[in-house]
C-alpha cells in the first residue's frame, strides 16, 4: 500500500528475470523465508544442521470466531501486529479483478470514527510504521509498534474490520492511485508486462492467472457498490487471523484482544470456492519483444503442487532441488555462467507458497553470442544430469544446514516471524508444520531430489517464456 522510498542501490546479481514476484506484495513468502541464502555448494564436509527450538507460538480463539496467535520473542518493548484475511486476489469475483487490492487501499481511508488518512497518522504519532499487502491468497495489514502502544493498533484494526466508510470522492481518487500503481509496477516496464502475460498463460481456469492488482479495464469498471458489497460480506472475525510477535504472550494478549477485536460482531462469510485448474495437456510458449529489453531472457516453469495443496514433503523436496540448482553456488550458475560461459545469469526457483498450487522455475540470460535455444538446452541438460546421475548426499545435507540457519536468521526480526506464522496458518498450515519444517527437510534424501527432477522432466505441459529486445510489432 505505501511504497518504500527506494534509493538507487542495485545488486549485481539482480539481473531481473521473469519470476513470479507478486506485484502487490511486500513480504517474503514461506519458501523464501526458509531458504537460507539460496543455494548449496559442492565441496567439503557436511556440517551438522543447527537446531532451533520450536517458535513457542500460542493460539486461542475469540468468542466471535477470530483466531489469535501470540509468538513470544526476546525483543523487549517491541511487537509486530498483523491481521490476515483468508482471501486475496484469487478470490476476486470473475470480471472484477482488483477488488481485494482496492479494498486494501480503502482500508486506510477512514471509518465512522477515523477520517481519511488518520489511521496512518495515529500509528505514526505512536511511533509505529504500518503497511498492507494483497497476495493471491491473503490480504494482510500490519504494524510494528512499541509494546505499550499495542492496544492502539488493535483498536484501530478492529475498527476498520467492519467500519470502513465508502465515499464516492475517495473511491474515485483511490482508483486513480491504483491505476498509477499499476502503471508503475507493470505497464511501465517490459518485464512487468511480460510477467503478467506469463502468469496469465500458466493458469487456464484458476484465478491465479489474473494479475493481483487487476486488469486495467476491470479496475476502471469496478463500482463502489461492488467493492463495498464484497467488503461487507467477507470482512469479519470468522475470516480473520491475528498474529502478534515480539514482547508478548497469550496471557497478556488475550484481554487486549477481547477488548478490541472481541467487540466486533460475528461475521465474515467464507469466499466461494475457486475454479479448479484442469490438467494441462499442451506446452505453452510465451514470447514478447520490446525495444526496452537490453538482453533476452529465457525461463521455463513446471506446474507443481505447493506446501498447502497437500504436498508439503514434495514441496520441500522441490525447494531443496531449487537450492541445488540455483544461486551463486548452484549447478546452473556453475555450469552455464562460470564453466561454459553461455549465460550471464542462470538459476532456479520454487514457488511453493500458494494455497492451490505453484510451479518450479528455471531461467537463464544468454551471454553475448549465445542463442536462447542454446541456454535452454544447457539448462535442461543440468536438470537431466540431476535426474539421471542424482545429486551428492552432501549437497542435500548442505541445503538442510542452510535452511536451518535461515530459520534462525529469520528469528532476528519480529515482522519476518509474524509474517511466516500468519501466512502459513491463514492458508491452512499449522504451527506443527512450522515447528516440524526443518526436521522434514532433513529427512529428504539425494534420491528424493533426483526423483523430483525426473518428475519435472516428465511433465509435458510446461510454460516457456522468452523476452527479447526488438520492436513490439
Amino acid at each position: 500500500m505505501i511504497p518504500r522510498a527506494s534509493s538507487a542501490t542495485r545488486h549485481r546479481r539482480l539481473l531481473r528475470l521473469p519470476t513470479s514476484r507478486d506485484p502487490t506484495s511486500s513480504w517474503r513468502r514461506l519458501a523464501a523465508f526458509l531458504r537460507a541464502v539460496s543455494v548449496v555448494g559442492i565441496s567439503l564436509c557436511a556440517l551438522t544442521p543447527p537446531a532451533a527450538a520450536g517458535l513457542g507460538a500460542e493460539t486461542f480463539t475469540l468468542a466471535n470466531g477470530m483466531r489469535v496467535v501470540a509468538v513470544p520473542m526476546e525483543r523487549p518493548g517491541v511487537v509486530h501486529h498483523a491481521v490476515y484475511y483468508a482471501f486475496g486476489a484469487a478470490d476476486d469475483p470473475s470480471g472484477q479483478s482488483g477488488i481485494a487490492h482496492f479494498i486494501e487501499h480503502l482500508m486506510f481511508n477512514g471509518t465512522g470514527t477515523t477520517t481519511d488518512g488518520q489511521y496512518k497518522q495515529i500509528i505514526g504519532r505512536n511511533g509505529g510504521s504500518t503497511n498492507a499487502y494483497t497476495s493471491a491468497d491473503v490480504t494482510a495489514y500490519y504494524a510494528t509498534i512499541a509494546r505499550d502502544r499495542l492496544e492502539t493498533v488493535m483498536r484501530l484494526e478492529a475498527d476498520r474490520m467492519t467500519g470502513v466508510v465508502f465515499k464516492p470522492e475517495n473511491f474515485e481518487a483511490e482508483r486513480q492511485v491504483i491505476i498509477e500503481e499499476r502503471l508503475q509496477r507493470t505497464d511501465n516496464s517490459p518485464s512487468g508486462v511480460f510477467r503478467e502475460q506469463l502468469t496469465a498463460a500458466a493458469w487456464q481456469a484458476h484465478p491465479y492467472g489474473r494479475p493481483l492488482i487487476g486488469w486495467r479495464h476491470e479496475i476502471e469498471a469496478l463500482t463502489m457498490e461492488q467493492v463495498e458489497a464484497y467488503y461487507r460480506r467477507h470482512y469479519g472475525p470468522a475470516n480473520a487471523l491475528l498474529v502478534v510477535a515480539g514482547d508478548i504472550d497469550a496471557e497478556s494478549l488475550r484481554p487486549l484482544a477481547e477488548r478490541t477485536f472481541g467487540k466486533v460482531a460475528a461475521g465474515g462469510e467464507p469466499v466461494p470456492p475457486r475454479p479448479k485448474e484442469p490438467p494441462h495437456r499442451a506446452r505453452v510458449t510465451v514470447e514478447m519483444e520490446d525495444p526496452r529489453v537490453a538482453r533476452p531472457r529465457w525461463s521455463r516453469q513446471y506446474p507443481a503442487r505447493s506446501y498447502f495443496s497437500g504436498a508439503a514433503r514434495e514441496a520441500a523436496t522441490l525447494d531443496v532441488l531449487a537450492a541445488v540448482l540455483g544461486g551463486a553456488s548452484g549447478r546452473l550458475h556453475r555450469a552455464l555462467v562460470v564453466r561454459h560461459k553461455v549465460a550471464l545469469a542462470a538459476g532456479a526457483y520454487f514457488d511453493g507458497g500458494k494455497r492451490d498450487g505453484g510451479f518450479f522455475l528455471v531461467y537463464a540470460m544468454p551471454a553475448d553470442g549465445t542463442d536462447v535455444s542454446e541456454v535452454e538446452e544447457a539448462v535442461i541438460a543440468e536438470l537431466r544430469r540431476v535426474a539421471e546421475e542424482g545429486v551428492e548426499e552432501r549437497e542435500v545435507q548442505r541445503a538442510a544446514y542452510r535452511f536451518a540457519a535461515g530459520e534462525i536468521y529469520a528469528r532476528d526480526d519480529v515482522s519476518t516471524v509474524a509474517e511466516f506464522v500468519g501466512s502459513t496458518l491463514i492458508k491452512g498450515g499449522t504451527l506443527q508444520d512450522i515447528d516440524g519444517y526443518i526436521e522434514m527437510v532433513r529427512s529428504i534424501s539425494a534420491a528424493d531430489v533426483a526423483a523430483s527432477a525426473r518428475t519435472l522432466l516428465a511433465e509435458q505441459a510446461t510454460v516457456t517464456g522468452i523476452l527479447r529486445p526488438g520492436d513490439a510489432e
Binding site: G41, G124, N126, A146, R147, D148, Q184, K341
Partner: protein, 441 residues
C-alpha cells in the same frame, strides 16, 4: 532491547497523552568499544537472544574516487571481492561461504564501500577468516573478472531503459557536470570495458585500508572473541591514508530537462541542495524533510499529489547522504497527462513550505513519529550493526543512541522555518522528466 528504546518511548509519551507506559525492562546492553590486539576498533552491542553475529563495516571513499574514464571501478571492485580470495578461487570461496550459510555482501556507494557479514555464532571465526581473505587478498582471477564485467555491462545497459535510473543519472549529471558526483557510478560501456586487473588491484590496496575503516557489530559475541574476529577480518590490511574528498559544487539554477522515452508513465526527479550531517541545521532539516516528503505518515507531498489528486502511487523526498555535496532529492511517477500538473503541485508545496514552514501540529506529529519509530527500526542485529557504522562514519558519538531523540525534540518551529527558507528555494529546483512528453512549461 535497550535503554534507548525505553528512552524513546518515554519521550514520545511525554507529548502524547493517552496511554500508560508499561516499561518492558530488559537487560540493558550499552554500546561497547572493542579494540583488537592489532589495533582495529569496533563498536559492539551484545545481544545473546539468538546464536547469530552481524558485523557491518565501511571504508570511506566510493565511486566518487573513480578517475575520469574509470567510472564503475568502485562497483567493479566491490563485486569481485567475494569472487576468489587468498587460497580459494571463486568457486571454492563461494563453497566455503555457502557450506556454513555465511552471508557476506559488499556494495559501493558514491562515498563509501559498505559490507556486511552475517553468520551463526558457531561459524564466526571461519566467517571472519573468509572476510579477511576478501579484503586483504582478493585474487581478481581472469574468469570472475570477465564474468562480472559482462554482468555489470548488462545491468548498465538495462538501466539505460529504466526511467527511474535514467532520471537519477541525468539529474546528477545536470547538477554536478563532470565532477565525481556527476559521472555515472555504474560506469559507461567504454569505462567498464577499459578497467583492467591492475586498476582493480590498485583500487583495492589503496581503498581497503584501516584508516578508512569503521566497524559495527551486534549479536551473540563476547569481547575476547570479537577482538580475535577483528584481527582475522581486518588485521592484514595496511594502515593507509584517508582519501582526498574535496567538496563539490552543484549547479542549482532551475534546470528542467525532458528525456524522451516511450512509456505510459512519466518519471519525475527533482532536487535542491541539502544539509550536511554535521551542519547545525541538520535536525531541523531532517524534521522538515520528514513532513515534506520523507517518512512521516501522510507527508505534504503525498497529501497533495496522491491523496487529494490521485496523480501518483508514490512520491518521496530524502536528504541524501552525500559527503561532498549534500542534496535533498525526490521522485515520483505519474501518468503522461498528469505530469505537468504534478510538477506544478510539487512546486506549490515547496513554495508554500518555504514561506510558512510547518504547523505546530505537523511538527509535534513528526517528532512523535521520528522519536517513536527510531528504536523500532533498530530491531535486528543487522540493522543495529549498520547503524553503529553510520554513527562512527558521521562522528555522532558512542552515546548517540541515547541522545538522538533529544536532538529531535529540541527542534523548534522557528528552526524549521529558518531551514525551510534556506533550503526550499523553489526556483532553484532542478528537474528531470523521463517520458513521452515534456511537462515543463
Amino acid at each position: 532491547m535497550t535503554h534507548f528504546l525505553r528512552y524513546a518511548a518515554a519521550t514520545a509519551l511525554a507529548t502524547s497523552a493517552a496511554l500508560a507506559v508499561s516499561n518492558a525492562s530488559a537487560t540493558t546492553s550499552p554500546v561497547e568499544v572493542v579494540v583488537s590486539p592489532q589495533g582495529t576498533e569496533a563498536w559492539l552491542r551484545r545481544d545473546s537472544s539468538l546464536p547469530i553475529v552481524s558485523l557491518a563495516f565501511r571504508f570511506t571513499g566510493g565511486a566518487a574516487l573513480d578517475a575520469p574514464g574509470k567510472e564503475g571501478l568502485a562497483q567493479f571492485m566491490a563485486a569481485l571481492l567475494d569472487e576468489g580470495a587468498g587460497p580459494y578461487d571463486a568457486v571454492a570461496y563461494r563453497d566455503r561461504l555457502d557450506d556454513r550459510a555465511i552471508r557476506l555482501s559488499f556494495s559501493a556507494g558514491r562515498d563509501s564501500l559498505f559490507g556486511t557479514l552475517h553468520t551463526l555464532r558457531e561459524n564466526v571465526e571461519e566467517a571472519a577468516t573468509l572476510l579477511g581473505h576478501a579484503l586483504a587478498r582478493p585474487r581478481f582471477d581472469d574468469e570472475p573478472v570477465a564474468r562480472i564485467r559482462s554482468q555489470l555491462e548488462a545491468v548498465r545497459a538495462q538501466n539505460e531503459t529504466r526511467p527511474g535510473s535514467v532520471g537519477r543519472t541525468r539529474w546528477f549529471s545536470l547538477v554536478f557536470g563532470d565532477g565525481p558526483y556527476g559521472r555515472p557510478s555504474s560506469g559507461t560501456q567504454a569505462s567498464l570495458a577499459g578497467i583492467n586487473v591492475e586498476d582493480l588491484r590498485a583500487a583495492a590496496s589503496e581503498r581497503l585500508v584501516r584508516r578508512r575503516l569503521v566497524v559495527g557489530v551486534a549479536g551473540d559475541i563476547d569481547r575476547e572473541m570479537l577482538a580475535r574476529v577483528l584481527d582475522l577480518a581486518f588485521g592484514d590490511l595496511p594502515v593507509g591514508e584517508l582519501p582526498d574528498e574535496a567538496p563539490e559544487i552543484g549547479s542549482f539554477a532551475g534546470q528542467a530537462v525532458h528525456v524522451p522515452m516511450d512509456i505510459p508513465q512519466t518519471e519525475l526527479v527533482f532536487g535542491l541542495p541539502g544539509v550536511a550531517r554535521d551542519d547545525a541545521d541538520f535536525f531541523p532539516a531532517f524534521v522538515l524533510n520528514s513532513v515534506l516528503g520523507g517518512g512521516t505518515p501522510g507527508t505534504r507531498l503525498e497529501q497533495e499529489v496522491r491523496i487529494k489528486r490521485g496523480l501518483a502511487y508514490s512520491i518521496y523526498t530524502y536528504l541524501a547522504d552525500a559527503e561532498r555535496a549534500p542534496i535533498l532529492i525526490g521522485a515520483t511517477s505519474t501518468r503522461d497527462e498528469g505530469a505537468g500538473e504534478t510538477v506544478a503541485v510539487v512546486r506549490d508545496v515547496v513554495r508554500q513550505t518555504a514561506a510558512g514552514g510547518l504547523t505546530a501540529d505537523e511538527l509535534a506529529d513528526a517528532k512523535l513519529y521520528i522519536t517513536g519509530s527510531f528504536p523500532l527500526a533498530l530491531d535486528s542485529t543487522s540493522e543495529i550493526a549498520g547503524f553503529l557504522v553510520a554513527m562512527q562514519a558521521n562522528d555522532l558519538g558512542i552515546d548517540y543512541l541515547d541522545r538522538r531523540n533529544a536532538l529531535v525534540e529540541a527542534v523548534t518551529i522557528e528552526d524549521v522555518q529558518r531551514v525551510a527558507k534556506r533550503l526550499l528555494v523553489e526556483d532553484a529546483m532542478v528537474w528531470v522528466a523521463v517520458g513521452r512528453s515534456n511537462p515543463f512549461p
